[in-house]
């Protein structure tokens, strides 16, 4: 299949591993799904400390389940990416460990306090879920299948985040103040979740032409702001003055871009942001430390079935 045919046929769940897809498509899809999978893993890494630090037994269970789900989403997404035949899961996880794998901006900022957790669990996950819902009609069928299951599970995450936000904002004055402070700090990052406006996004054009990407960042940002600004206000959060956001007559939003720190954003995009590097390296150390187990399993498997072919060839 050549690129022109791909563009012509591009529709929801149109292509699967049995189609001979041009390399350009397979690479673009791999890049996109790998980014998504990496983000699940790094999101899980970011929230993990709060399994231990959650202040009640039920919340601890919920955090454990949420982190588990994220690892499960990573599993589904790496499988969807592997099925493109470009990279194996091990290669993608190694790239993530070595700082070559890219992932969402918000997951480069470590969290120090429990009051920060709804910034991820409610707002960032809410933003992500919006995007993921549109990806159920992506053109790479295994990716769409993964999205079916991810969206099925993700509802719990956003509700869990909302419940914690509610609990904090109806808690002591101290809790409310700490939560507002966390919100002030996280809000610009959350807005940047959707990236710069379309003109600046290099990969968007091709990815939407071949049906991988279903909605533009601007549309997603608008949808997100429409739903989540009222929610934030409902819980008593004050929307920070910056970045300045205004609503157009057609219901879209204008975000004043110079109010946002794009230098930091692009430093993050290169995996060069210092606190984010700490996150990447922390996970790398954990991954390296259990290499011996994977080796042991591999030789067990080889004893049983003989040494297998590279696993991306499916």
């Amino acid at each position: 299949m050549d690129i022109e045919e791909v563009k012509q046929r591009a529709g929801p769940r149109e292509f699967s591993p049995k189609d001979e897809m041009p390399e350009k498509y397979r690479k673009a899809a791999t890049r996109m799904i790998q980014f998504h999978a990496n983000s699940e893993i790094m999101g899980a890494y970011l929230e993990k400390p709060f399994i231990r630090q959650a202040p009640s037994l039920d919340r601890k269970l919920a955090f454990s389940a949420k982190v588990q789900d994220e690892i499960g989403h990573g599993q589904l997404l790496y499988r969807a990416a592997e099925s493109l035949g470009i990279k194996t899961r091990d290669e993608m996880l190694d790239e993530l460990a070595e700082g070559k794998g890219k992932f969402l901006n918000c997951f480069h900022y470590p969290m120090d306090s429990y009051v920060e957790t709804p910034m991820i669990a409610f707002f960032v996950d809410g933003a992500a879920m919006r995007r993921q819902a549109t990806l159920k009609s992506t053109s790479w069928e295994p990716y769409a299948h993964a999205m079916d299951k991810v969206c099925f599970e993700e509802g719990f995450h956003v509700k869990h985040g909302e419940a914690i936000l509610y609990e904090l904002m109806t808690g002591s004055k101290k809790e409310q103040e700490m939560t507002q402070e966390a919100f002030d700090e996280w809000w610009p990052r959350i807005i940047q979740f959707f990236g710069p406006t379309n003109e600046k996004s290099t990969h968007h054009g091709f990815a939407s032409e071949v049906g991988l990407k279903q909605m533009s960042n601007d549309d997603l940002r608008t949808a997100f702001l429409n739903a989540y600004i009222p929610k934030a206000e409902k819980y008593g959060l004050e929307i920070p003055e910056e970045p300045r956001i205004s609503k157009n007559d057609d219901g879209t939003y204008e975000v004043v871009e110079e109010d946002l720190d794009w230098d930091e954003f692009f430093t993050i995009a290169k995996n060069d942001y210092e606190p984010g590097v700490g996150q990447i390296n922390g996970r790398k150390a954990a991954q390296d430390a259990v290499e011996w187990v994977r080796e042991s399993l591999d030789s067990h498997e080889n004893r049983l079935y003989g040494s297998s072919q590279p696993q991306a060839a499916d």
Binding site: K18, G72, Q75, L76, R79, R89, H145, K149, F152, E153, L297, D298, H300, E301, L304, Y305, S308, Q311, D314
Partner: protein, 109 residues
């Protein structure tokens, strides 16, 4: 290696494909599948099978049900009032299967 996973929601249902897992052998594949694919969705039973053992034939390689007139296979071809409710039911299932099949052939070409 990769194991394909099939889930049966309740006893008596078919096992339907629901995903896959990396695992070094069948026992571990079952243990892993149980958590990854059976922890929320209703599950009565799971199957796992090595991915490389799965064979496939699809519309590119096969003309499922043939391309020439085979209406003799269908109840709708026979113009009698159904003798009993189970005959009627079978006919209506066949009618909708045929509609879907035709739609698929027309849509696919």
């Amino acid at each position: 290696m990769i194991w394909e996973v099939f889930r049966q929601e309740k006893s008596g249902d078919y096992h339907k494909h629901c995903g896959n897992v990396h695992a070094p052998d069948r026992e571990m594949a079952l243990l892993f599948a149980e958590v990854q694919h059976g922890r929320r969705k209703p599950t009565n039973s799971l199957w796992v099978t090595p991915q490389k053992e799965i064979g496939e034939v699809d519309t590119e390689d096969a003309a499922f049900g043939g391309t020439t007139d085979k209406s003799y296979r269908w109840a709708m071809t026979y113009n009698f009032e159904a003798a009993a409710s189970e005959v009627e039911e079978s006919e209506s299932e066949q009618a909708s299967a045929e509609r879907e099949r035709k739609a698929q052939i027309e849509g696919g070409s």
